[in-house]
């Protein structure tokens, strides 16, 4: 019996099936819960899959023999982010200065503040590299953490938590500063809370959503190029 399971466990297809099944279930749960960012399909999926793996005493490398086929598609998906960015090029050109300033300042503040707070808490260099891309959309954050020597999986988790927090923080910031402009609201969500913020921005309207997506792609791209320069400045 145990032996049979041992064979079965080694089928990569098993973990592909588990991942797809759990993801469909998680999407259903999220839709039932009114699309709350706290029950984001990715958060629910990875929690459930981890429970399944612990329960069946399967380690991560075994799971990844199937999971790697899904993970592999992240690269081309990041490249595909160029398509929505291209479609919004007219807006970028029209508002080039405020958008560029917002994205550059936002990306630097997001990474530098996270690193500096982490230094205060005595985080290791590797952990600092892991939280640095926390405001960046997960596919780029994972790639950045992989490239710079952080923990990619932990980055992915922290990015999701940041996204959920951003959706809570944004309305508070708008109230304090009296921000009513839909485009500004969307942009702030995209810079601080990536794709989850963008999804949340669509609740304010199409314009807010479009600006959220734009801010997310611009900030993510800029951060990937900026972090290797910022780290030495902060002494890492």
């Amino acid at each position: 019996m145990t032996d049979l399971w041992g064979h079965f466990q080694a089928f990569p297809v098993l973990w592909l099936v588990v991942t797809l099944l759990v993801f469909l279930f998680a999407s259903w749960v999220n839709a039932k819960a009114g699309k709350t960012p706290f029950l984001h399909p990715v958060l629910v999926s990875l929690t459930l899959i981890i429970v399944v793996l612990k329960f069946t005493e399967t380690d991560y490398p075994t799971y990844m023999q199937g999971g790697q086929y899904i993970h592999l598609l992240l690269g081309p998906a990041v490249v595909a982010l160029a398509i929505p960015l291209y479609e919004n090029l007219a807006t970028v050109k029209r508002l080039l200065f405020p958008l560029l300033v917002g994205c550059v300042v936002g990306a630097i503040v997001a990474a530098a503040s996270a690193i500096m707070i982490g230094v205060l808490f005595g985080f290791s260099d590797q952990l600092l590299l892991t939280i640095a891309p926390k405001s960046v959309t997960s596919p780029i954050a994972i790639a950045v953490a992989e490239k710079m020597g952080g923990y990619p999986s932990l980055s992915a988790g922290l990015v999701l938590i940041t996204g959920a927090m951003g959706c809570l923080i944004a309305p508070f910031v708008y109230r304090v500063l009296g921000i009513k402009d839909e485009s500004v609201r969307g942009f702030v969500l995209g810079v601080g809370a990536h794709a989850m913020g963008t999804a949340f921005a669509f609740e304010y309207g199409m314009v807010a959503g479009a600006f959220g997506g734009l801010a997310m792609s611009m900030t993510g791209t800029f951060t990937a190029f900026m972090l290797p320069l910022l780290m030495p400045i902060l002494g890492l």
Binding site: L74, G75, P76, V78, S138, A224
Partner: protein, 124 residues
Amino acid sequence: MVQGFLILLACQLCGELTVTLLNVPVPGSVVGMVLLLIGLMIRGEVPDGLRTTGEGLLRLLPLLLVPAGVGLMTHFALLSEYWGELIISLFVSTLITMFTVALLLKLLSKEKVAVEHEGGGVDD
């Protein structure tokens, strides 16, 4: 479909080659994205095949993140040691970021309105 996928992978490959040759710690996929953006700007439109594949992949994006996310299970020791500090760092940093960007854009858009009033709205 196949063409679109080929374009995406070719851009990623060029990106990977670029960062390897330049020896910079930037993800190859991000460089590939910039290359594709430049390509689209030169061409002036998104080819149908690329749109089908690209938008299909982007719709699947949440699913594509799951396997990497499951890797959290290898960091439980680190998480149990630092979870409080991590949550605080994320919260404070996100609050500072959003506040700064919102304030900045508010000031910039005010300035823009003022300039438009003075200049009679040369720009749109």
